[in-house]
C-alpha cells in the first residue's frame, strides 16, 4: 500500500530554531495521526510543511492530493455560507450536513460565530474530496456536539480510504496514533 503522506528524515527550522529533525511519517489509507505537543513545539509548522506551504530544511516529503483546514477560514465574509463554500468547489452538501451547518447556508459568513466558522472550515476541507486531510487544531472553538460530529466525519473518511493528519494539544476522540513533538 502506498502512503498518502510520507516524511523521510525531515528537519525544520523556523526563525533560526530547530523545531524537529529526522522526522519520519508514513500515513496510509485509513490511518489517522495526531501530532501533539506543547505550544510552540512545531505542530502547526508540521501541518504547513505537509501542505507544502513551508519548506523543510532537510529530508523528503511526498503527499497525495490533500485538503487543509487551519485557523483561517478562507471564506468570503460578505457572501452567504453556501456561496462562499461553493467557490472552493467539490460538493459541500454532505459535509455541511455532517457538521450540522446545512441550516446556515443562507447566512452571511461574517455573521457566523467562531465555532460555526470552524465547522465551515472543516466542511470546506471535507467537501474537497481529497484523500488526505490536514487539520490544524480542529477542536479550537468547537463545542462538544461539533467535536462529536467531527470524529464521526473523520471515522467515515477513514473508512472510505482516507487519511487524516491532525495537530492538536487536546485529546481527539477515536483511534489515533500519536506523535509527540518537543520532547
Amino acid at each position: 500500500m502506498t502512503a498518502l503522506l510520507r516524511f523521510e528524515g525531515v528537519a525544520l527550522t523556523r526563525g533560526g530554531r530547530l523545531l524537529f529533525e529526522d522526522l519520519d511519517i508514513a500515513l496510509e489509507a485509513g490511518e489517522a495521526l495526531q501530532v501533539a505537543g506543547p505550544n510552540g513545539s512545531g505542530k502547526s509548522s508540521l501541518i504547513r510543511l505537509a501542505a507544502g506551504l513551508l519548506r523543510q530544511e532537510r529530508g523528503q516529503i511526498e503527499r497525495s492530493a490533500f485538503a487543509l483546514a487551519d485557523d483561517q477560514a478562507a471564506l468570503d465574509r460578505e457572501l452567504s455560507l453556501g456561496r462562499a463554500l461553493a467557490f472552493w468547489g467539490g460538493s459541500p452538501g454532505p459535509a455541511t450536513d455532517a457538521l450540522g451547518i446545512a441550516v446556515l447556508a443562507e447566512v452571511q459568513v461574517r455573521l457566523l460565530s467562531s465555532g460555526q466558522l470552524k465547522r465551515a472550515t472543516l466542511a470546506r476541507a471535507a467537501a474537497s474530496g481529497a484523500p488526505l486531510w490536514l487539520l490544524d487544531e480542529p477542536l479550537n472553538a468547537l463545542d462538544s456536539d461539533g467535536a462529536e460530529r467531527l470524529s464521526k466525519l473523520v471515522a467515515k473518511h477513514r473508512a472510505a480510504g482516507g487519511a487524516v493528519l491532525a495537530a492538536s494539544h487536546q485529546p481527539l476522540a477515536g483511534d489515533w496514533t500519536r506523535l509527540e513533538l518537543g520532547e
Partner: protein, 212 residues
Amino acid sequence: MIGALIARDVRRGLTGATWIPAAFFLLVVALIPFAVGPDVPILQRVGPGVLWIAALTAALLPIERLVEPDRADGVLDQLAVRGLAEESIAFAKIVAHWLTFGPLLLIAAIPGAALLAMSGQSFVRTGISLAVGTLGLASLAVAIAAVTSGFARSGSLASLLLLPLAIPLLIFGAAASVGGHPSALPLESAITLLLVAGAPFVAGAAIRGART
C-alpha cells in the same frame, strides 16, 4: 480556477468601494481650477499632466485591500493548496484589479477633462495614454500590495514605494498625452508591458516569502 478567481475578485471589487478611486481622481482634478485659477489656456496646458497625477494618486487608494485580506484570511494558502502558482494568483489579481479600476477611471476622466477645458483631441490622446497606463499602474499596485502585505501601516509604505516606481510611466504617459513626441506612446506601452509581465513574478515571490 483562474477564471473563478478573477470573477470573484471583480465581484468583491464591485461590492466594495470601487467608485472611491474614481471619485478621488475627479476630486483631485476639480481642485486644480481652484488652485491655479480659472484661466483656460493655463488649464488646457496643464490638463493632461493633471489627469495623470490624479490617476497616480487614485491608484494608491485600493492597494491595501488587494492582497492583505486574502493573505490574512488564508485564501492565498488555499489557492496554493489547490495547486495554483502564486504567479497565477497575482496575474488574476492584476486582471481583476484593472477591470474594477481602469474603466471607471477612464469614465471619470470625461468630466475631468471638461473641468480642465481640454480640447477633444487632447482628451482622446490623454484617454489612450491613461488606458495603457492604468494597466501598468494596476500591475504595480498588485506587486506592491503583495510586497507590503503583512506589514504594519502597509498603506503608507505602499504609497512611498509606488509613486517613485511609477515615474517612468508618468514621464512617457504624460508625454503621449500632450502628443509631444511620436515615440512617447510606444515607450509608455513598453513600460506597461514590462510591468504587466514582471509584476506577477514579484508578487508571487512576495506571497511565498510572506509564509516563512
